[in-house]
Structure formats: C-alpha cells, structure tokens
C-alpha cells in the first residue's frame, strides 16, 4: 500500500507545509494559526504511533531514497533509534506548541515565530529519519538556519548578540561536519547507516585518517551536543522566549548533536571498531569533564534559566558518556537517557517559563514561597528536579542506574565516581530552588502579570503537568516493553550490543 | 635597400611612441600621436596593405586626433604637468615583458604560410576579386557585422553617458573668417567624390566600406567644425535609421539565409546583395563616426567655443 512507502515523507511534509502556510498567514488570524499548528502536531503524533506499531509489531522498516545525482542519495529510513527520537520530538512538539500559543499571547510577529517553529521540528524529524550521514548533514544545517530566527525572535540588542554567537558556533560546527562527511565519502564512498562494517574493511593504512575524520565529526556534532569547549552558545541563547529554549535547548538542537554522536559511534564507525581505534577513551574523558564543568557552572548561576541551561550542558554529556563506554548496559542507558533527559528538562523549562510569565520572577532568590502562589507548577518542578537528581521512582534514576551498571562491567570504574559526583552536584543546585519554593516565606508581594482562573493560564499549566506525568510513568513502568527503556533495549538488541 | 627603410620606419615609430609617453605636455603628446598615426600608415603601405594605410591615416591620425584635441580643449591648463612618478617600478616589468615577447618572436616558424593561399583559391566563388574585401564581407562576415555592432554600441554608450537623446544639441557657430566657408565649398564635394570612388573601388582593388565610410565621416566632421547648418537639418529619426542601416541590412541578409535553411550568414548568389551591404555599411559607418565626434562634447559646446576665442 503506497501510503506506507510515503509515510516518512508525509511526516516531514506535515510540519514543513504547515510551517510555510503559517508564514503567509496574517498576524491577526490567531485562531486559524493555532488550529493549523495543532492539527499538524496531532497528525505527526498519530503517524509516529502508527509507524511504531508497524515497526515493532510487523517489523517493517520504512525506507525512502531519492538519488541527488551527486554520487550519494538522500535516504529517509526509520529504524528503532530514529523511531525513539521521532516519538520524543513529535510528542514534545505537540505539548510545546500548546505552551507556546499560551506563552506568546498578544506578542508581535507570531506568524513568523510559528512558521520557523514548525520548520524547526521538520528539521528534527529529518535528523531522526536520516538514512545516511549526508542526509543527516543536510537536515543538521537546515536546523541551524531555522533556529536562528527563533533565538533572535525578541529582536532586542541582547537577542541579536546571542544570535550572533549562536550562529558562529553552529556555522563552525556545520563546516567541520561538512569537511568530515565529504572526507569520509571520498575515502569510503557513499555509506548507509546500516552497513557499519564498511569502515573496518578499509584496511589498517586508513586508520589514522579515520581517527582524524572521527575527531572532526565529533567536534562538528559536539558544538550542538554542547561538549565543553564548544558549549558557549547554550547559556547565551537562553535569552530566547521560554518555548524556544524549552523545545530547542532541551529537545531539538542539543539532542540533535547527541543523536548525531550516537549515530556516528554506533552506525558509521561501529562501537567496537571505534573502541579498537582508541577513540572512545578520550571521548568519555571529554564527556565527563563537560558533566562536571556544567554542574559546577550551574551552581553559581542566579538566573533560573541560565542554571537550567548549564544543567542541560552537563546532562547531555551523559548520553555521550554512555555511548563512549563499551558495555551493553551503558549503551541502553545512553539511549534511554536521550528520552528521559528531554522529558524532564522540558518540564523544568516550562515551569521556569510559567514563573517568569505569570509572576515575572527570573532570579532563583526571588522564587521564595512561590509554592503557595503556584502550587501545581511548583509540584511539577519538584518532580522534574528530583528526576534530574536521580531519585528512584523517576526516569532519571533508571538511566543513571543503567549507566552505572554499564560502567561497572565495562571495566572503567572511575565513571561511577563521575556519576555520583554529578548527582550530588545536581542535588546541590536543584535542592536550594525547591527549598526556596516550598519552605521559605515570600519576601514581597507578587503582582500577577497574567490573571487567569487557575494560577496561570491553562495553556501554560497543562504541558508541565503532562510532561512531569510522563517522566513519572517512564520511571515507574520502565519494564513495560513500550516504555522508553523497553525501546532502548530493543535498539541495543538490534545493534547486536545487548546480551 | 628595403631593410634600411624598414629600420628607419621601425626606429621612428618606437622613438615617437616613447616621446608620446615621456613628454610632459599633453598638447605635445597629442600632436606627436597624430604623427605616430601617419608613421603607422606609412608602415602599412610599406607592408603592402594599402587599405589599412588609408583607414589608419583617416581614423588613427584623423578622427582620433580630432577627438583627442576636442577632449584636450576641456582641460584648463596643459602647461606644467607633473612627470609621472614611480618610473622604475613600472618600467622594469614592461621591459621584462618586451624582452620575453621578443625572445618568443624568434621562434616564429620560417615556413609560415597563413591563410593566404586558401583565400585565393576560394575567392572565385565569392564573386569578389579583391581578397581583403572578400574576407571582410564573405568569409568573416560575422566579424564585420559584430564590428558594425561595436560601432553602434559605442554611439549608444556615448548617448547614454551624455544622457542625450540625439546629437542635435552640439552645433557650432559658423566661423567668422571667409576661409572656413571657402574651404568647405572646395573640399567637401571632393571628399564625397573620393568616398564614392573608394567604395566603388572596394570590389576589385584596395578600398571598400570602411575607408569610404571614414572619408565621408571626416567630411562630416569638417562640416561640423565649419558650423555648417546642413547637419542640423537631418531629422533625428532619420539620423537613427541611417545609423543602424548597415547593421540592419546585414542582419536581414544574414537571417534571410536562414529562411532558405542554409548556414547562417551565407550571402545570396547575386553579387548585388554583397555590394548593397557594403553601401549600407559605408553610410552607417560614416553617420556613426560623425555622431561619435559630435555627441561627445557637452551640450553647450557652442558658447564654450565662443568663450574660448574671446577669452
């Protein structure tokens, strides 16, 4: 039935064409715009679940490829790993759209915002479904282009400055990735994500070149995955409106980098060959430095969103760390953390957005006693914060648990130390916020900027509740086959890495 | 014997050229340039290519001289011009280039044949006796057509720079002295006669469209210099039509060959067509060159000339 054949393209075009149409909508037609947005999002979620059903039950891999005539062809392929990232990005896109509609009530240039917003999700879907490194690169660059207007959406001087630094980093990363991809293509010819063994067959004399290419690829992807030297743009880009920083810096842009690193390690080089080349050791070291560095910087940040930004820097490196350890559990941990970190971080950003939008509170210190005024947001914040720290019933604990197991049987014990230290540091910068929320008396009376029946407009309230709930469920029902952990196990099994 | 003559011409050419570049005074440079043009046409005659000699004398020395003198007229003071600086840094590379080229000339193959014989044996079926005109109009007709185009574009360019629709504006006042009028009465008919003669000659002897056009053009320039009112009579639409007549006639002839699906630019059998093209080309070259000389001065050239004489 050719619908199945065209499903991936349908997924892409659903948000691409809604984006284009929204561009041309007049500023005042908010109702039509929201309707278009939501239908696009819902369609995508349904399509993802339908595809998940076909993939997991009927084991039917969707593959579409167009030949670009340049010696490689443009492949869209949905396998387990891409399905995971697809599910993450489409669900969270639906939630964030709802949140964004509420958040941007009455602010200027919303058509432009939502146009670029849906284009950005198209880029994420494209990254997830890329069948080979070249299509991945094409969507990677497309993502850079499309996120710039979102970062500078406020059009203030600071936003433009942030946009400029964001651009410098991402364009640099893009160029590096371009060089790496071309060089790989020159040496190994067009390379699908499927045939992982191809690089090994190249013979020993190419190993040094492959090491250099690996380094270039990781630096290119590291920019977006916010590895230490290249993370500068993330805290600066916090100046963007909350839904942007929520979806982009928790889910889309940062995950694209991490997802790319996972693809490069597992599908391009193959984990064992990468280990044989001695590349994974330094990568693990870099990741752990980022984890510790990110958490330390987060401690000293007084602005809530900046603090969350630095915590993202450190959390994303968990994925890189997990991928860099040659052990089945740590691979599962890395992949599952891809999803858990996304859910928890987006809740934190939603709550930060709520505090800023309704009560105008940005600084951590003036969050004292907000729990009384906005109980539900505070509860979701606490749930997500505990998840980040790794408190047992929540999703964060599951992935940290697997990462720990993996590092144990992977023979590199020091990673356990890193994990424990970072959990302590997480606690060190999250607990004071929770303590301020609940147990301290409010210093001054708050003036509500956005009056509404509930504590904040319902559109701002529902998304955090939904995502906090998913985080809780993902932790509790981890053993369920459809849960993120179950999917992660299936992926690892598919890669022949799991037992 | 011939060698000495060649040596004299060669050395004098080089000497005059060097003087032109090195002399401080612009006026002297231009006068020397006119002598350079005449010397060059002398060289052409020595190298047995008379029609180029005519063209060079009339254009290189004549029209170019008039244009340069006219342009020089606008310069306020041509007295004490600074000698161009940085002599050495510029002279050495040019010298090096000259040496390099001179070295390569030694390798010109001795048995150089060129396309001469080929032209002479393909000449009969072009109905033209004189090889140069045959090459110009028939073998390399496309070049001549484009060259008419270049002339036309130059006039368009001059009009564009002058932001003027026509050349009407730059009529000169009639000179006071009787000599100006007398010379017109005497020379102009002669010039037209010689132009026609050259044109007619073109089919079988050195001469042809360019030389005739250039002679007629110099006649026209003389008319303009003498402030003769007849140039103003020409209605500007007619002036446009005449100017593009050569180019258009060639275009129609060339594209007509497409209708009989021959190759582009093949001339029809009758000789009359080629001569027709030649006559149209002469007319349009004359008009174009006159417009080039006339259109370049500013609109109020008339009173400028008057101001200069009494200043």
């Amino acid at each position: 039935m050719n619908l199945n054949f065209w499903l991936p393209v349908l997924m892409l075009s659903s948000s691409f064409f809604t984006g284009l149409i929204i561009f041309f909508l007049k500023e005042t037609s908010t109702r039509l715009r929201t309707a278009l947005n939501l239908t696009g999002a819902v369609f995508k979620v349904v399509a993802v679940h339908y595809m998940a059903y076909r993939l997991l039950v009927l084991d039917h891999i969707h593959q579409v490829s167009f030949s670009m005539g340049l010696g490689f062809d443009f492949v869209l392929r949905v396998d387990f790993l891409s399905l995971m990232f697809l599910a993450l990005s489409s669900n969270l896109w639906l939630v964030t759209t709802l949140y964004a509609v509420g958040y941007l009530e009455g602010s200027p240039n919303r058509s432009r915002f939502f146009g670029f917003f849906s284009l950005c999700v198209t880029a994420c879907t494209g990254i997830a479904m890329a069948g080979n490194l070249i299509s991945f690169f094409i969507f990677y660059e497309f993502l850079t282009l499309v996120t710039y207007p979102l970062v500078v959406h406020r059009e203030t001087k600071v936003a433009l400055e942030a946009g400029r630094t964001y651009l410098w980093y991402t364009i640099l990363g893009g160029v590096l990735l371009f060089l790496g991809v071309v060089w790989l293509q020159v040496i190994a010819g067009p390379l699908e994500f499927v045939d992982t063994g191809a690089l090994e067959a190249l013979g020993p004399d190419q190993h040094n070149i492959l090491r250099v290419i690996f380094l270039i690829l990781i630096m290119g992807l590291g920019v977006k995955a916010a590895l230490v030297p290249l993370h500068g743009w993330l805290p600066v880009a916090m100046v963007a409106p909350a839904p942007v920083s929520a979806l982009l810096h928790a889910v889309a842009v940062v995950k694209a980098g991490a997802f790319g690193i996972v693809r490069v390690i597992f599908d391009v080089f193959g984990r064992d060959f990468a280990g044989f080349l001695g590349l994974l050791g330094p990568l693990a070291v870099a990741a752990s430095i980022t984890i510790i560095f990110g958490s330390l910087r987060a401690l000293s940040q007084s602005d809530l969103k900046k603090r969350l930004a630095y915590s993202t820097v450190s959390q994303v490196s968990y994925i890189t760390l997990g991928a860099a350890v040659i052990a089945s559990f740590s691979t599962v941990g890395a992949i599952v953390h891809l999803v858990h970190q996304g859910i928890m971080k987006i809740t934190l950003f939603f709550c930060a957005g709520n505090f800023a939008e309704t009560l105008g509170l940005h600084n951590v210190r003036d969050l004292r006693g907000v729990g009384r005024r906005m109980p539900i947001t505070a509860i979701t914040f606490t749930v997500a914060a505990f998840g980040m720290i790794g408190v047992p019933p929540l999703a964060g604990f599951v992935s940290k648990w697997y990462l720990g197991l993996g590092s144990l049987d992977g023979g590199s014990g020091w990673i356990i130390g890193i994990l424990v230290a970072s959990s302590l540091l997480n606690a060190a910068y999250f607990l004071p916020v929770i303590n301020a929320l609940w147990f301290e008396t409010p210093a001054k009376e708050w003036k509500t900027l956005r009056p509404s029946r509930f504590e904040t407009p319902w559109m701002l309230l529902v998304p955090p509740i939904f995502t906090a709930g998913t985080a809780l469920l993902a932790g509790l029902f981890a053993e369920w086959t459809w849960s993120p952990l179950g999917l992660a196990r299936q992926i690892a099994f598919g890669m022949g890495v799991y037992p | 014997m011939g060698l000495i003559f060649d040596l004299i011409i060669g050395l004098s050419l080089a000497g005059v050229a060097w003087r032109i570049v090195r002399v401080r005074e612009h006026f002297q440079a231009i006068v020397l340039f006119i002598t350079f043009g005449l010397l060059l046409s002398l060289a052409w005659t020595r190298l047995k290519s008379p029609d180029i000699a005519i063209a060079e004398a009339a254009v290189g020395a004549g029209l170019a001289g008039v244009l340069l003198m006219d342009a020089l007229g606008t310069l306020s003071s041509t007295r004490n011009q600074p000698l161009p600086g940085r002599f050495l840094q510029l002279f050495i590379p040019c010298l090096f280039l000259a040496g390099l080229m001179a070295y390569t000339i030694l390798f010109i193959p001795a048995d150089f044949q060129g396309l001469g014989p080929m032209v002479s044996e393909a000449l009969p079926d072009t109905h033209l006796e004189y090889p140069v005109t045959a090459v110009l109009l028939d073998f390399r007709g496309y070049d001549t057509w484009l060259e008419l185009g270049v002339l036309l574009v130059a006039v368009l360019g001059v009009l564009c720079v002058r932001q003027a629709g026509t050349i009407k504006g730059s009529m000169l006042p009639a000179p006071a002295e009787p000599v100006g009028r007398w010379i017109i009465k005497l020379l102009l008919p002669l010039m037209v006669l010689i132009g026609g003669y050259l044109l007619w000659l073109g089919a079988f002897a050195p001469g042809g469209a360019f030389q005739a056009g250039v002679v007629l053009a110099s006649g026209g320039v003389m008319l303009w210099q003498a402030g003769h009112p007849s140039l103003a009579l020409l209605h500007h639409v007619w002036w446009k039509i005449l100017m593009i007549s050569g180019f258009v006639f060639f275009l129609i002839l060339a594209s007509s060959s497409l209708l009989y699906n021959q190759q582009f630019m093949t001339h029809p059998e009758a000789k009359m067509w080629i001569l027709g093209v030649e006559y149209a080309a002469t007319l349009s070259i004359a008009i174009c060159l006159i417009s080039l000389v006339l259109a370049s001065p500013a609109r109020n050239q008339g009173d400028q000339r008057a101001r200069k004489t009494e200043s």
Binding site: F23, M68, G69, L70, G71, I138, E141, F142, T144, L145, Y148, P149, E155, T156, R164, L172, V175, F178, L179, V182, Q185, V186 | L100, M101, Y103, T104, F107, I108, P109, L115, M118, A122, D138, F139, R140, G141, Y142, D143, L146, E147, G149, V150, L152, V153, A154, L156, G157, L159, C160, V161, Q163, K240, I241, I244, F247, L251, A254, S255, M265, T266
Partner: protein, 490 residues
Amino acid sequence: MPELLILVPFTGALLCFLFPGHIRDVIGLLCAVLTFVASIILTGNIYQNGPIRLNLGGWKEPLGIGMCVDGLSVLFIFLTGIVGLLVSLYSVSFFSKANNQSLAKHFWPLWLFLWGSLNSIFFVSDIFNAYVVMELISISAAALAALSGTNASLIAALRYFLLAMAGSMAFLLGVGFLYAQTGTLDMYLLGAVTDGGPLMAMALGLMTVGLIMKTALFPFHFWLPPAHGEAPAPVSAVLSALVIKGSFYLLLRIWCTVFQDTTASPQTATLLGLLGLTGVIWGSYQAIIQNRLKLIIAYSSVGQVGYLFLLFPLVFITLDPAWKIEAWTACVFQTISHGLAKAALFLAAGNLIHATGTENLKSMRNIADRLPMTTFTLALAGVSLMGLPPSGGFVAKWMLLQSILASGQWWLAAAPILGGLLTAAYIFRILSQAFVSDDQISCCGHVSFVMEKSALLLAIFSILIGFRSKEVIFLLSEQVYFVIQGGIIP
C-alpha cells in the same frame, strides 16, 4: 536554432533604440521572453542529440568563422536566459519609477545588445571573433555601468573600461602569437596543434592575463566593487551574474581546446588556483567590513569568482579522470548558482534601498516585517551563496571539496572551508540587520509586486538548481566537445 539567440536580442535592441516611450518596454520584454524560450529549446535540443557545429557563411573551418554549441556553452546560455528574463522583468518596473524614467531609453538598447553579445560569446569557436565579441561586451557593460550618472559610477565605469581595453589588447596580441605559430584562427584546429612551443606558452600567458582582468580575479579585482556597487540594481545584477561569467567561459573554452597540453599550463594552472584562493579569502574578508549594502554584495562577487578558478589546478594538473567530472560539475554549479543567487541579492538590495531610502546597512531598520518577501529572498540567496544544503551552492562546494581531497592538493581545501565561513559572516550580517526592531517606522517606499517577485524567483531557482545535478553531469560528460588529458568521461 542557436542563431536566434543572437538575432532576437540584437533586433530587439535596434527596435528599442528606434521607438520611444512605453513601446520600448513592451519590445524589451517580448525579446526577453523570446530569447529565454529559445535558450530553453536549445538546451533541450543539445541535451537530446549532442553538440551542434555551425560554419557561418557556409565556409569550412580555417577560412570561415565557426560556431559550436556543446554541453558547457548551453549551461551558460541557460543561466543567461533565466537571469536575463527576470532582470528584464524587474527593470520594466524599476525604470518606470519617477526618478529613473529618463534612463530607460538608454538602458534597453544597451542591455539587449549586451545580452546578444553574451549569447554569442558562448557560441564562439574562433579566437578573433572572441576578441570582437569581448569588445562588444566591454563597451555595452561599461556604458550600462555609467548609466546612473553619478561621479563615482562614471569613474568606476571608465576604470573598468580602460582595464577591459587593456585586457582586449593583450588578448589580441595573444591571437597574433597563436596565428604566428599555427596559421589558423579556429579553436578546434588550434587544439590539434601539439608542439606547444614558446609561442603558444606566450599566447597562453597573454590571453589568460587579458581575460583575468575582465573576470576580476584577485590581482585585477579592484575595478569590480565600485563598478557594480554604483550601478542601478538591474545593471549591477547583470554585471555581477553574467558579464564576468562571459570572459570566464572564454578562458575555460581556450584552456580546454587550445592550451590543453602546452608546456606552461600546469604551472599557470597552479598560479590561477592560488590567485583564486586568495581572491576567495580577500573578497569575502572585504565584504565583511563594508558598510554599504551594494558594496558588500559586489565584494562577495570578487570572493565567489575565486571559487571558479579553483577548477584549473584540479583539471589541468594530472588527476585521475574519475574525479575530473566532479571538478567540472563543481565549477559549473558554482557559476550557475552564484549567477542566480548574486542576481537575486542585487535585485533584493535594490528593493531594500528603494524602500528604506538609504544605502547604509546600519541605518536599514526592521526590514523583516515591512518587506517580508525581500528578506526571504535575501535569506534564500544567502543560503545558496553560503553553500548550505539543498541549494546549488551546496552541490558546488560538495563536489569541489571532494575533488580537492581526491586530487591531493589539500591546500586548496581552504577555499570552500574558510570561504564558506566568511561568506556566512557577511550574509548573516545582512540578515541580522533584517531583525533589528525600530519603533519610529521610517516611511517605506512602495516596492512593486514585480520587483520583489522576480528577485524571489531568482533566489528560488538558485536553490532548485541543486536538485538537477544529474542532467548537468550528463551535459558535461557526454555532450562536450573537448577531451581533457586522460579523457573527461570517467
């Protein structure tokens, strides 16, 4: 029929010269459409049944002038067709504005003459004929550059014209040297002569220098920014997108047919590559520090032209034929996508300057919401210039980098990498200006529908060309006359 591509623009030019008033616009547009259709038909014709060889006047090679239309020339014709049509569309409404009314009667004849001569340069196969056509292009381009009549544009036009004249003289002397060595004027007969003596090397040097001056390669690029910056928008679009490509095409044609294996070609090829590299970096660097919008775009032309010259070291120094087709496609794609994107950029810049009334980049306030279409065009054209994926520029950079890495001359790789970065810098400098918000909205001149849409169409074409690389490779490998050392077909 290739002759139509020359006859139609010339007849149009003459009619525009004769008729006054609005008839001129109608004739101009009609000729533009006809020429565009003819170029599309020709491209299809060449694509199906191979190159065409014409002998003008019915005379065989050495005597008469030949015309040859093959894969390479047809791609350039295609580029000229598209840009020509859309620029003509743009200039119909550009010259109907109040202040430009008087310029129209000079613009149309010169522009159509330029178009006709550009088309005929792409058919050329006789070197003296090439000299005459180059001269025709130089005079019409210089006249168009001097169209706006300000001091700066006049001086820039004259500087360009003098340089072009010097280049033509050098080219003519090169023709003399070639004629001295071989006795024929036709390129393909010249190609057959194998003993590349010092005469041929000297001719190679002279002709290359002559043509480099006109293509504004690095040491001779100083005339381009003022000339293209000062001219009115449609003129600078044409100058940047097409005129420099004409002399580049001639250089390519001469190198491939006549100077394939002359003694000096490998060293000169490396020199050209080096100059191209410095051109890319210098041009892009200059573009970043400029303040006037049109100067930025003009300097970016200097930069992008540098990419074209990277072809010479890749193709003319012994390289296994497998990667040669990559280098060729890279160069052709760079030409086409740069032509389209640069024309779009200049037209969009024209719209911006018309709307905001200022040339200075800093004083252009929130263009995004007042002129959304123009900002979108700027973005699309910028994407293609930077070489970000799906665009034509991306394909060019991709293939260029591949052939550079495969050919082992890794120092050339700096061009696509560094050049790409620098291009991104100045493109985003323009784009970020679009997002700067400004409360006192200065009066915004009305930019007509046609002007915006033609710029947008050009930008979209430069993106779409990226997808059609199969046909271009086919045109370049099978439908081409000349054979580079070791054959061009991998």
